[in-house]
């Protein structure tokens, strides 16, 4: 009986306090719909690669540089950045495939770190296709990763065999860049 009376008294005091403005409660909810954002074709980045192979490219040491890549990553988590061919077409070049293409990572800022791996091969897996890693970029303009894409056209009997009856010959493909949370 005494216990019931004490609880009732405490409830009354708290109620009076709230209504008098002595205690307030504020709930805070932060929703993070996505923790990683990737942009590999911003206005100041290379985007698509279009390269014409000239005589000087045939004589140059292989592999030859056919273009740059650049990606900007905004993150509120740790992540890795990968890239590799996800489609490829070279119907008129015998011996050409995605293993002839490689990429490097030359620069990374805002807590981004380049990886030394180079594979762009269709079907290859991380870490061979990893271009770099990074961390939370809150308060920065995002981590910029940049590098080059190369192609090696081979040499001798195992090298590329371009079908002259189909000139000009096109080799096309799509390189897909992905960011993945490394602390899922």
């Amino acid at each position: 009986m005494i216990r019931k009376l004490l609880v009732a008294a405490l409830g009354g005091v708290l109620g009076l306090s709230l209504s008098a403005g002595l205690v307030a409660q504020q709930n805070v909810t932060i929703e993070i719909g996505q923790s990683l954002y990737l942009d590999c074709v911003p206005p100041d980045q290379p985007g698509d690669i279009y390269y014409v192979v000239l005589q000087s490219d045939i004589e140059a040491p292989q592999p030859i540089d056919i273009g740059d890549w650049g990606c900007n990553v905004d993150a509120v988590t740790q992540y890795r950045l990968n890239s590799q061919f996800t489609s490829f077409s070279a119907p008129f070049v015998v011996n050409a495939d995605t293993s002839d293409f490689t990429a490097d990572c030359d620069t990374a800022d805002d807590y981004g770190v380049c990886a030394p791996n180079s594979s762009l091969t269709l079907g290859d897996v991380d870490p061979n296709t990893r271009r770099g890693i990074g961390y939370n970029t809150a308060g920065t303009n995002g981590a910029d990763f940049a590098g080059d894409v190369f192609v090696n056209m081979g040499v001798g009997p195992g090298g590329w065999d371009v079908m002259s009856s189909q000139l000009p010959v096109y080799v096309t493909g799509i390189i897909t860049y992905t960011v993945t949370d490394t602390t899922p």
């Binding site: 504020q26 929703e31 942009d39 056209m153 009997p157 090298g159 009856s165 096309t172 960011v179």
Partner: protein, 175 residues
């Protein structure tokens, strides 16, 4: 009193980090296009030959050497190399392409010589050699000599002359 109660009541603050709607993504595609407009390139390293026929050549064994040839080939395909001579002008009776012969003495960077000698017949008689993809190399060098046989010539007007052009051609053998 109602306002106070509302103010004192729970107030939820929702901060949504939803980004920019459709721009938000974790993968992106970049298209790669390589264009190869020409897979074979050939250059004549020795641009011309001038030979004067003297008593020594008339008395010497036939055919005799009149000069060297040297071409360089850059290739992104297997190929064959041919050469033929075309007469431009002459005042020598019976002088023609069939009087000229050649050989291939040297080939590098996946090039291979043939033993054929004609400068006046179609392939394979006028084939100097064949080769493969030369990417990353300074191109396949083919070299040889050019010979002349003047046993059929009838020079009636002096000075006698023969002017011709040797055409070197590369052909994709896997077209």
């Amino acid at each position: 009193m109602k306002k106070r109660a509302k103010a004192a009541g729970a107030m939820a603050l929702v901060i949504a980090l939803l980004g920019w709607g459709s721009l938000a993504q974790t993968s992106q595609n970049v298209r790669v296009t390589l264009v190869i407009p020409q897979p074979l390139f050939i250059a004549a390293v020795i641009p011309s030959i001038t030979a004067e026929i003297t008593l020594r050549e008339v008395e010497g064994p036939q055919p005799f050497k009149i000069g060297d040839w040297h071409v360089n080939i850059d290739a992104l395909t297997p190929y064959r190399l041919n050469s033929s001579i075309v007469t431009i002008d002459t005042n020598i009776f019976d002088a023609g392409p069939e009087d000229f012969l050649t050989d291939c003495d040297f080939a590098d960077d996946f090039g291979e010589c043939t033993d054929r000698t004609s400068l006046s017949e179609p392939d394979p008689q006028n084939r100097r050699g064949s080769g493969q993809n030369t990417a990353g190399l300074d191109g396949a060098d083919f070299m040889g000599e050019i010979f002349l046989d003047i046993r059929s010539w009838d020079v009636s007007k002096l000075p006698g002359f023969y002017i011709g052009v040797i055409l070197f051609t590369t052909t994709d053998i896997t077209p």
